[in-house]
């Protein structure tokens, strides 16, 4: 029974990681941009939601809704003004600029909000649980997982059912030829980052309600998000979800043996997957 519970909890945890990773996957998939500031952007989102909650007295879910357009614009501008300049064959410029950005965001938040531990409260929902047979599952982790699935479904629909998604894929294949089709790659990339920031906002909501956060907490989970994206394979959203779940389950299984191995097992699972599938589980055919 404990093993079942361990796996279920791991899957739910994987949902959280997939949520952290989905925005990264989008940005990585469309423009090969390795965004080291992703974790900090999630924290930024959490602070934004917190500010909205305390300023307008809104329910956190509504506050996240209010934050969405703000974060979209922020992402759009960031990509258009700064990150577009770093794209190219060389992987260093994006690594460096986003790392710089990560430091800037962290320290700006420290200046603005101090190092205090914060929390977005969702009241009774925090402790609520539903029982699935003999296993008690928290409502918030379940919501997190379901949101992750919803985000993945939505991103897939966007990618495979809309003209915009087509343009994303085409531009990702070949920005120059996409230009001949009337795509302005710079704006398109900005839109992609804007959408990624919408996902970031959703991730921020769950980060902020699950546990405490402070301005420096972002990078700690970034590595799991990257692992999820890479395990899944570049450009596969379902793969990203699978990657998140693999890491989540590896962590809880490792912890069940001994909590010392919890985080290590997640990393080891990642290394093992890559040892056998260096391009991830569901790589795109052409890369």
């Amino acid at each position: 029974m404990i093993w079942v519970d361990t796996i279920v909890q791991g899957v739910l945890l994987g949902g959280l990681y997939a949520l952290f990773a989905a925005g990264l996957s989008l940005v990585f998939g469309v423009m090969r941009l390795v965004n080291l500031a992703h974790g900090d952007l999630i924290v930024l989102g959490a602070f934004l939601i917190l500010v909205i909650v305390s300023a307008l007295g809104l329910n956190p879910f509504l506050a996240a809704l209010v934050a969405l357009p703000v974060m979209f614009c922020l992402g759009w501008g960031l990509q258009f003004v700064v990150l577009n300049r770093t794209l190219g064959d060389d992987i260093l410029p994006p690594l460096l600029v986003t790392f710089g950005l990560s430091i800037v965001i962290q320290n700006a938040l420290l200046e603005g909000f101090s190092a205090d531990s914060r929390r977005i409260s969702v009241g009774g929902l925090e402790a609520a649980s539903v029982s699935l047979g003999p296993i008690a599952v928290g409502v918030m982790p379940l919501l997190t997982f379901l949101s992750a699935v919803a985000v993945i479904i939505a991103l897939n629909a966007l990618f495979y059912r809309t003209a915009l998604g087509r343009a994303f894929r085409a531009t990702s294949d070949d920005p120059v030829t996409a230009g001949l089709m009337g795509v302005d790659p710079k704006r398109l990339f900005a839109t992609a980052t804007g959408i990624a920031m919408i996902v970031v906002t959703i991730a921020a909501l769950y980060l902020g309600t699950r546990s405490n956060f402070d301005p420096t907490i972002g990078p700690a989970r970034l590595i799991y998000a990257f692992e999820a994206v890479i395990i899944g394979g570049l450009g596969s959203f379902w793969g990203t979800l699978a990657g998140g779940v693999i890491i989540g389950v590896a962590q809880t299984m490792g912890a069940a043996i001994n909590p010392e191995w919890q985080i290590l097992s997640g990393h080891v699972a990642f290394l093992l997957v890559l040892l056998f599938r260096p391009r991830g589980l569901f790589p795109r055919a052409n890369d």
Binding site: R166, R169, A170, D173, T177, G179, M181, V183, N286
Partner: protein
């Protein structure tokens, strides 16, 4: 009468390397112009400069009398200049149909070319509509590339080496579509190494060598020797 599309003294460079030296080209409405020239003469460079993919140096590109030389590719395309790029350049992640739909992404105007009329033009594509574009034969890929460009109902169609790497039968099939494309109202610039093919479809021919136009004329007026000289830089 102003030309539909005109370049005046167009230059272009790749870094330190100058690829075009003051190219003048003119395309009137309804006309088909062929550009011929050896490998590396600068034909593709000229197409790319017009389409806005390549930032061009001094010199002008006029479309309907308006300067478009400084516009990015997306805006050139939105005004009605579509290109079939050298090497077809299909999007490997997209199916045939999605590739075609991409063609209308930046310019959605009513016109003769829609998904169904493109399928009528190249019926074989309809059968393969859900295949990845890159799983087709070279000739079929070329059809997708042409169809994709047509989807925006362009006023000018730039075709770069559409016969490249294709068997003669396939080339014949593809060129068989040209009368229909012209009839539907597009003016065409084709780049072609196959001189015979070029002379057959074109109203006028320009020959390029080392970044310059060395000869222009109507096919009937041009002698073998002239062409040969312009093409290879020497008299045969």
């Amino acid at each position: 009468m102003t030309a539909l599309l005109e370049t005046k003294g167009l230059t272009a460079r790749y870094g330190d390397f100058q690829a075009l030296f003051g190219v003048d080209l003119r395309l009137d409405a309804g006309e088909t112009v062929a550009i011929i020239g050896a490998n590396g003469a600068g034909k593709t460079t000229l197409m790319r400069s017009i389409a806005g993919v390549l930032a061009n140096g001094p010199g002008e590109v006029l479309f309907d009398g308006q300067p478009i030389g400084a516009l990015p590719a997306a805006q050139v395309m939105a005004r009605g200049i579509a290109m079939v790029p050298e090497g077809r350049k299909l999007f490997p992640s997209l199916s045939v149909e999605e590739n075609l739909l991409m063609g209308a992404y930046g310019r959605k105007v009513e016109g003769p070319w829609r998904l169904d009329t493109v399928y009528d033009l190249f019926p074989v594509l309809k059968e393969r509509r859900n295949n990845p574009g890159t799983a087709l034969s070279g000739g079929q890929q070329q059809m997708v590339a042409i169809g994709r460009a047509l989807m925006s109902n362009p006023r000018v169609l730039l075709c770069d080496e559409i016969s490249l790497g294709l068997a003669p039968v396939v080339i014949r099939d593809i060129y068989a579509a040209f009368p229909q494309i012209r009839a539907a109202g597009a003016s065409i610039v084709i780049v072609e190494q196959d001189i015979g093919q070029a002379l057959k479809v074109a109203d006028r021919v320009s020959c390029m060598m080392e970044g310059r136009v060395t000869l222009t004329g109507r096919p009937a007026e041009l002698s073998r020797e002239d062409i040969h000289a312009a093409y290879f830089g020497v008299h045969a």
